[in-house]
Amino acid sequence: GTGEDLKTQERLFLNSLGLSERPTPSEHRRVPSVFWRMLKRMSTREMEARENDPCMVLEYGVRGNIVRFVQDQGRLLSGWSGSCHGCVEKHLFFNMSVLQPVEQLSLARLEVQFQLDVFRTPMFFLGPQALSVSVYKVLRVTLRGANHEANRRLVLSKSVQLEPQSGSLTLDLTALAESWRKPGRNYGLVLEVQPHPAGALARDSFMAHHPGSALAFGTAEASPEFQASLVAVSLNPLQCRTRRKR
């Protein structure tokens, strides 16, 4: 009886914290440094100024009491040597159903971190390099797949500089992520990465002068690794009231 009572009490408490059950993380994922900074800043502010609006996330300039680092659950569609010829395509999928219906989404920001694998990248790519990055919204998934042109719409296309071996891309996806919260409406994104044309010219020039290099390296392409995540800030208005002075 006591054990059951404890479980019931725990479940009630976890529900009030927005959790369906006690989380059992499969692996301890990386905690972004900005989260540690926010935690420290919030804790300091909680001690100093309880009377202020506690639900302002200063780092992102929006109201909210929940900041999530949502993991990408998508998969690689095409590698460097795959169908998109010299580029990489990855399907990005962020499960927005983790937000409770009562939560108001204030911000959703896509963050893509690029990093060159220095051991697998030809030497001439180790200087400053540019990548062309395109982000597509997936409108539907048919038998032709998420990366088929008819199934997607371009959201953004830009160059990202890798300085010296890493670079990042951020993109505001608040409106899109809000639409993903509706059941059956989240097909995710496709991220397409390819070496910038200038980089390709440098590569071709290098290959012309060093014809054996492709064999030596296996491939002459720069092959940046990348990790995508979504930072989502939301407000639960029931759990975030502004304290009024008596």
């Binding site: 959790l19 369906s20 006690r22 989380p23 993380p25 905690v31 900041v67 499960n95």
Partner: protein
């Protein structure tokens, strides 16, 4: 006539120190930080007459008065939190996402008789 029972200062309603260590409730695997926090709790009596320091409501003052006349029939007011403060927590959710969440009413700062 009113029954007046003297209450020693240590028994009077006030915040008591309580440190909650998440390890004690088996939550250390999913809560990243903090590892615990000073939550405190309220404990003590709300004796007649209620002094200013006990933060009693008008209702509580009258209840102590009635309790002093009829201790069996009417209980003393309750010693409860009247001011709480928030805590922020960093944890893994049910989908392995990292979440930073601000929780209100987690720390007892002040107690009162209500």
């Amino acid at each position: 006539s009113a029954v007046y029972l003297p209450v020693t200062p240590s028994n009077v309603c006030k915040p008591r120190r309580l440190y909650i260590d998440f390890r004690d409730v088996g939550w250390q695997d999913w809560i990243i930080a903090p590892q615990g926090y000073l939550a405190n709790y309220c404990h003590g009596e709300c004796p007649f007459p209620l002094s200013e320091s006990l933060n009693g409501t008008n209702h509580a003052i009258l209840q102590t008065l009635v309790h002093s006349l009829d201790p069996r029939g009417t209980p003393q007011p309750c010693c409860v939190p009247i001011r709480l403060s928030p805590v922020s927590m960093l944890y893994y959710d049910n989908n392995d996402n990292v979440v930073l969440r601000h929780y209100q009413d987690m720390v007892v700062d002040e107690c009162g008789c209500r």
